[in-house]
């Protein structure tokens, strides 16, 4: 065993360990530890990615010297390490992109706690990506939920507690369903590791017994993870949870937390549950249907909402609909597209949240369209970032969003004919709807408001001059340097890179997914 093969385990332990030592550190030190740790995890994941991609194989890593049926293990392949690298990079850039707002939004003495939550979140996401054990997955799902709730309520205003309660209620129902599904699975197979469980399930499916329990297990596990990732009919907590927390938290929650659950679900579908063997269950078609409805309804809700951050949150509902539509297509190309969209949507959504915050700041804290008029001239980097994110969301060529839409459309060609027609229609309608609300916003931020008013708005946001009831409290935040811009520019560059050099990533996803079975 080479040293590189240990890196995934190091990544998980490192992020947990930095959470533990951050308890005794000050907020500033915890921040440095977090940034260094995330960077290190990213670099290590790249090494693992290079190793697994070069050798073209995957391996399981035994934890605690007990062999398969008793011990716990993690499984590492190209796909897992790609996801780990992408997640840690997005987290790093999102934290950098909102670093002054963390200072502003969260009390000094509680900042350390915020970074502890982030460390734990990364640990649980990495564990969800790598784990090969179902019960470990459940435990880390709960850790992820708790850490995410901590991120939501880090900003100490009444509104976020309500959002956090709503988030917790939906999440806990999701994890409760997952847990009982897991218990049923254990009851009929006697296995908790993924590969033996799959063999046992396949055996049971071949005999034709236990069809009802198997269908129930599939429904429970899928719906549980669907609720937690914000699949359409269970999406009510999303706009609240993403719309009011501090900007890094919103970016990370929308781009990473829900994606961790989706990745786990894809893993379960491919590696454990015999989706194809139970014809009566129809899970794929149900996911497809919910995904398609979510794509449309999410966009319609986004058009109706005036608040820019809630608008971006509703667009998450639509984008998660895309991912589930890809899974529901039921072929490998669809799953590849869904996995690619996990990465590209992660980048786009964190960019949009960061850029939107930049725009809001230079408009005296206004969240509505009227207040944001001309904001693109006042904060140029945020304006360009928001435009790139919006164009990518709509699916402009050369940007990441185009590649994922193209992959979804081409995956639909090899699906059954009725699915192909529905998928194409939904893609077309959803693209038009995306264009309506994102282009409207881009036009608004590039509409000049006249020199006098612009200078007043800018001054109001940047100094202590009171021109609006809101400006006083927001004023302090804008003694900021170039760091937040680095986050926005970095993610924009990544989106353009992902759009132009997409073939490399697609290759890794294809090869990794082929090894998944």
């Amino acid at each position: 065993m080479t040293l590189v093969q240990n890196f995934p385990f190091f990544c998980i332990i490192l992020s947990m360990f930095s959470a533990i030592i951050s308890f005794v550190l000050s907020g500033r030190q915890a921040k440095i530890v977090h940034l260094a740790m995330t960077g290190l995890v990213f670099v290590m994941s790249l090494f693992v990615l290079q190793y697994t991609y070069m050798t073209g194989s995957s391996y399981t890593y035994m934890m605690g010297h007990y062999p398969a049926p008793w011990g716990n293990e993690i499984r590492i392949g190209a796909l897992e390490s790609l996801m780990a690298a992408a997640f840690s990079l997005i987290m790093l850039l999102s934290v950098i992109g909102g670093i002054y707002h963390i200072d502003k939004d969260i009390d000094k003495e509680r900042q350390g706690l915020f970074f502890i939550q982030l460390d734990l979140l990364l640990a649980s996401l990495l564990a969800l990506i790598y784990t090969n054990d179902l019960f470990t997955a459940y435990v880390f799902i709960e850790i992820c939920t708790i850490a995410a709730c901590g991120l939501i309520m880090a900003r100490k205003i009444g509104r976020v507690y309500v959002s956090a309660v709503r988030y917790m209620v939906m999440s806990l129902i999701g994890s409760g369903l997952f847990l009982i599904g897991l218990s049923l699975l254990y009851a009929i197979t006697g296995q908790l590791l993924m590969s033996p469980a799959r063999i046992a399930l396949q055996k049971i499916a071949d005999t034709g017994q236990y069809e009802v329990p198997m269908a129930v297990i599939m429904v429970l596990l899928t719906v549980g993870l669907g609720i937690k990732s914000g699949l359409y009919p269970f999406h009510t907590w999303i706009p609240d949870a993403y719309g009011y927390s501090t900007t890094s938290a919103s970016a990370i929650l929308s781009s990473l937390v829900s994606k961790g659950y989706i990745f786990l679900l894809i893993k379960l579908i491919v590696r454990v549950l015999p989706y194809k063997s139970i014809p009566g269950a129809q899970m794929e078609n149900i996911l497809f249907l919910f995904g398609v409805v979510g794509m449309i309804i999410g966009s319609v809700d986004a058009i109706k909402d005036k608040n820019i951050r809630r608008m971006i949150s509703y667009s998450s509902v639509a984008q998660i609909g895309y991912i589930y539509m890809g899974i529901g297509l039921g072929n490998n190309a669809g799953a590849d597209a869904a996995l690619f969209h996990v990465i590209s949507h992660g980048l786009m959504k964190s960019l949009l949240f960061l850029a939107a915050t930049g725009l809001i700041d230079c408009s005296g804290g206004r969240l509505d369209r009227k207040g944001l008029t001309g904001a693109g001239y006042r904060n140029k980097v945020a304006g360009v970032g928001f435009t790139i994110g919006s164009l990518s969301m709509i699916g402009m060529p050369l940007l990441a969003g185009f590649v994922s839409k193209f992959m979804f459309a081409s995956a639909a060609t090899s699906a059954p004919i009725y699915k192909m027609i529905i998928a194409w229609t939904a893609l077309a309608i959803s693209t038009v709807l995306n264009a309506v609300y994102f282009m409207r916003m881009v036009l608004v931020i590039y509409t000049p408001v006249g020199a006098v008013k612009a200078s007043r708005l800018k001054r109001g946001a940047q100094t202590d001059i009171e021109i609006k009831p809101e400006s006083g409290e927001k004023a302090a935040m804008l003694q900021k340097g170039p760091l937040e811009n680095i986050g926005i520019i970095g993610i924009s560059a990544l989106i353009i890179m992902l759009g132009t050099y997409s073939q490399v990533i697609i290759d890794i996803i294809r090869n990794g997914f082929a090894l998944f079975d």
Binding site: F135, R159, M168, L179, I180
Partner: protein
């Protein structure tokens, strides 16, 4: 059919409890009752697991008197899962309670519907202020 329900009464009970707990968690407006619902839901799963792991006439898997044959013991894995699950659910309920305390301090009620109503009022006021500010700007 009915006899199956009677032989598997633990599983039936845990399913009923699970649904009761989940509905409470979802539909109760009172935050404390929501937390109780959550605990009922989690406990029903532990009941299910414990019932699955028990084998009639065998002992707890604790090594005494030099009996090493596995035939004498019940399945230890579900018990381990229940223990882990209890730890998880305790921390989750603690978090929910902390949230409830904070909400009570802020809005002096435990009813989520009332809290939402107050919140909406606050927001309408804030929106009114904002529009007022915008009108002032255009003058």
């Amino acid at each position: 059919m009915v006899s199956t329900f009677f032989t598997n009464y633990e599983e039936v009970a845990s399913c009923i409890l699970f649904v009761i707990g989940m509905m409470n968690l979802l539909l109760q407006p009172n935050l404390i009752k929501k937390i109780i619902g959550l605990d009922i839901m989690d406990c029903s799963v532990y009941l299910f697991l414990a019932a699955k792991g028990y084998i009639e006439g065998r002992h707890a898997p604790i090594y005494v008197d030099g009996v090493t044959d596995a035939v004498n013991y019940i399945n230890p894995v579900p018990s381990g899962l229940v223990l882990t699950g209890i730890v998880v659910s305790v921390s989750v309920s603690a978090l929910m309670m902390a949230l409830t305390i904070n909400l009570y301090r802020e809005y002096s009620t435990l009813n989520l519907d009332e809290i939402m109503m107050k919140l909406r009022q606050e927001e309408t006021e804030k929106l009114g202020r904002l529009t007022y500010g915008a009108v002032e700007d255009e003058e």
